[in-house]
């Protein structure tokens, strides 16, 4: 399968191997310390199952929100060049580079009980985010949104501009062009962005514990459960970490065709 233009200079091999080993070492460290004897018993505990269910529910809800809110934003960002778009793009990227705990504090100040938006929401509709499942979803959506928007925008920008133009010339409405031509053409990029955003939501910790709190069965997702267990029972933390690695790796593997666009043989 070696193609011209994709050759690999031998001299890079040692560093490539080093990078692989570097990424493998933490996993090996984790695996070396797993208490295999009572692994199943520990995995079947209520606390672990609660955390796993919460993590899957909140990350999937966040992934849904990310698409619903992120796709229109990505489409607008990709639809032209202006300084306003440049500013918005910085805004979109910010949650990606901010330490999640900073995001958590900012979310508290905005959506908290006495926050800028949270206070009227609580007063008018009785909606509450802090210490509630809704807060977990908001925190995960906030940190995951940039991954989808930026990937989707880059896919939309890479689209052959003649396709929508031809469709429009043939009389299709802008909405029809978008849904029938543009979206199917960039589906791989949307899929990749969705997987990245979902993975980020699943691993979210800092903003969640700061904004949504840490209560078993309500807001304690897998990463928070690992953090909490680490303080009292490191073995339990190792078991939870193993479960997180298994779930994340399993889903990434299952979705690999979407994520590594063009990297798999079809």
């Amino acid at each position: 399968m070696t193609r011209v233009g994709r050759s690999f200079p031998r001299g890079l091999a040692p560093l490539a191997v080093l990078a692989g080993l570097f990424l493998l070492a933490p996993l090996a460290g984790l695996l070396a310390r797993v208490p295999w004897a009572d692994l199943l018993e520990r995995l079947a505990s209520d606390a672990v199952l609660d955390a796993l269910v919460l993590s899957l529910q909140s990350s999937l809800a966040a992934a849904l929100l990310v698409v619903v809110l992120g796709l229109p934003l990505a489409a607008w960002l990709a639809s032209g060049r202006s300084s306003l778009r440049a500013v918005v793009r910085v805004l979109v990227t910010l949650p990606m580079v901010l330490p999640p705990v900073v995001g958590g504090v900012a979310l508290l100040l905005a959506f908290g009980r006495s926050g800028l938006v949270g206070e009227p929401l609580a007063r008018l509709f009785g909606v509450q985010f802090t210490f509630a499942f809704a807060g977990v979803v908001v925190a995960a959506t906030y940190v995951a949104l940039p991954f989808f928007v930026l990937t989707a925008e880059s896919g939309l920008r890479g689209l052959d501009a003649r396709l929508p133009t031809v469709a429009a010339t043939l009389g299709a409405s802008p909405w029809r062009v978008f849904t029938r031509v543009t979206l199917p053409a960039v589906a791989p990029a949307l899929g990749a962005g969705l997987v990245l955003a979902w993975a980020r939501a699943l691993g979210e910790f800092g903003a969640t514990i700061t904004f949504a709190g840490n209560l078993e069965g309500a807001t304690r997702t897998m990463p928070l459960a690992v953090h909490t267990a680490l303080e009292s029972d490191p073995e339990a933390a190792i078991v939870l970490s193993l479960l997180m690695v298994a779930v994340s790796a399993g889903l990434l593997f299952a979705l690999r065709r979407r994520w590594f666009v063009g990297a798999t043989t079809r």
Binding site: R113, F131, G213
Partner: protein, 262 residues
Amino acid sequence: MSVVAKVCGLRAACALALVATLAAACGDARPGDATTRVLASASLTRAFGELVAAYEAAHPGASLELHTAGTPRLVLQLREGAPAAVLATADRASAQRVVESGRALGAPTVFATNRLAVIARDASVADLADLARDDLVVLLCGPEVPAGRYARAALAAAGVAVRSASDEPSVSAVVAKVRLGEADAGVVYTTDAAAVAGELHGFAIEGEAAPRIEYPLLLLDGAEGDPHAAGFADFVRSAAGAAILEAHGFSAVGASGRGDDA
């Protein structure tokens, strides 16, 4: 030709930089360097910051490095081999676990005590029993953190059933969320309550329900051959050290105090 030379030069520079970085990283981890590493419970952050500065000012040549984190995190770091010379924890059980891990030199000695306090946004929270009110969002630390364990013990002893809105990871997180208005009240240490006295209401938990909160100090294997480790431990228990601890709301326990029953 010049391109080749440039690339070669670049490669050599990169290799050198890599080697230098690795060497520096290894050098940092080498035990027996001139730095005395002090690990202290998060609740001691302000007091120990001042103690370390005072010790360094009085001992030119001493270089102390203070690391603060939740006590359980410190115990975990030590268990995994983190190099350190002095450890101060927020409970005896944690210090005992470090002793059992074989990294302690000698027994822990208690150098300070602390008390629990309730902080609240509203003056109507005036008694421990008020924390059971339905209209309040109350925060406690999780039971895995010493402050959370103490708070739960105190509430149980007083017969007050409190539903914590969240098992917060640290006392500082509880303080922050009450200050921000996300929670109405929380149980913290008096040392933390003192720092926000002008802003929040609060009272110390006294009497039968009050747990005995003791801070033990421990010399670790990193103290071997380092006079400043024992020197700093003595300073913490000295009159000057006691004055700093008291200024931060702790009750100091001198070297002759009841710290030897560990």
